[in-house]
Subunit: 224 residues, 2 copies
């Protein structure tokens, strides 16, 4: 196998990022999982991220604190805005401005310090809810930026942003994850869970998840 290949994997605690971590492990990467405490409404997703990182054998899991609450403008970080329970046209209010840019930039910083050249992100351009920073063109632009932004890039490293789910449907992601041994009971997708961490069943994220399990012909173990 040669030298150890390290990767930084963005891990939210949801279904997609858990599947992405399992994929990176299957590909032989030693995985450094990175989550963010960025003033999101609920902390249940950080508990889920911890459980997923341990379950899937991440070498290390770190939670970066990033105060984005002052930015406002998103229903996911601004408590004054309600999470919609009906789908809306266009880019939804749950979009956090430039979130994946901030997350990837921080992942890049850690990658450079670790000597890793590979970043994994569980974005998806099919069931992607219309977020601009989930598109392949965005990911390619970030790779180009990473090579210019870093000491490693100046010295010849080519950073790669892996988005193994980008062209998969939610049902395909779930089937893939099951084959890779992901325990979806540990994951949390809901934007507005109860105090006890139970999904609301009505938000965009719950809807996409339920549709995915239905189309995959599987029961969602987190709803049992």
């Amino acid at each position: 196998m040669g030298a150890e290949r390290k990767a930084v994997v963005l891990l939210s605690g949801g279904l997609d990022s858990a599947t992405t971590l399992a994929w990176a492990r299957r590909d032989g990467f030693v995985c450094y999982a990175l989550s963010f405490d960025y003033g999101q409404r609920h902390r249940g997703e950080l508990d889920a991220a911890r459980a997923v990182a341990q379950s899937l054998g991440a070498a290390l899991h770190r939670i970066a604190t990033l105060d984005m609450g002052f930015i406002g403008g998103s229903a996911l970080t601004d408590r004054a805005l309600p999470v919609p329970s009906e789908p809306s046209p266009g880019i939804p209010i749950t979009y956090v401005p430039a979130r994946n840019t901030v997350f990837l930039a921080t992942a890049l910083a850690w990658a450079e310090a670790l000597g890793a050249h590979d970043l994994f992100i569980g974005v998806n351009a099919v069931d992607y809810s219309g977020y601009p920073d989930c598109r392949p063109a965005f990911l390619t632009a970030f790779e180009e930026l990473a090579n210019l932004a870093t000491k490693a890039g100046v010295e010849g490293t080519k950073f790669r942003v892996h988005a193994p789910l980008v062209t998969l449907s939610k049902a395909e992601i779930i089937r893939m994850g099951v084959s890779l041994g992901v325990d979806y009971a540990l994951t949390l997708s809901c934007y507005a869970p109860s105090e006890e961490g139970r999904p609301c069943g009505r938000c965009d994220a719950c809807r996409l998840r339920a549709k995915g399990f239905a189309e995959a012909g599987l029961a969602d173990p987190s709803c049992v």
Copy 2:
């Protein structure tokens, strides 16, 4: 003058970013100044940033908390590493991995929430200490990323990263700042100041600053 033009200005509390804020104000922008508490060794620069923002008429000044201490690898955030007192060849140990990428990404998030299309950063490619993320190619790549990363970009906004100091020498920056009314007594450049906030006089940042004032034929008011 038409509609109000807002800009997000990265403000460290040092000489360069203070001059950049003055430049953005002179250009007619309503300025939203953004500083970072990212585990840097000393907090004196945040006090300096507050004083500079007020002195130069920023509309708002926010300090984003970003825990980058877990990343390690830089003498500016890792207390186990000494700040060098002699120049060294290559990219110095005071380089923080991907720092300007993280800072610009966060500035972009705020800009999008504010409806601003302009970001200002005080990087400099002349006396730039060899940091890769101070080069014009990096800034252009970030503009391209910003247009792909955001709802505003998808809807047709062209973000612009202004780096008005990028081709100036330190002496030219200082002469420019003086003509724009910057009070350099408020700024702090040192990487390793004393508890009382006095500059060490030996680190790269102190050396560049002293050389700049000498070449501009001016006394540094912070040393009086």
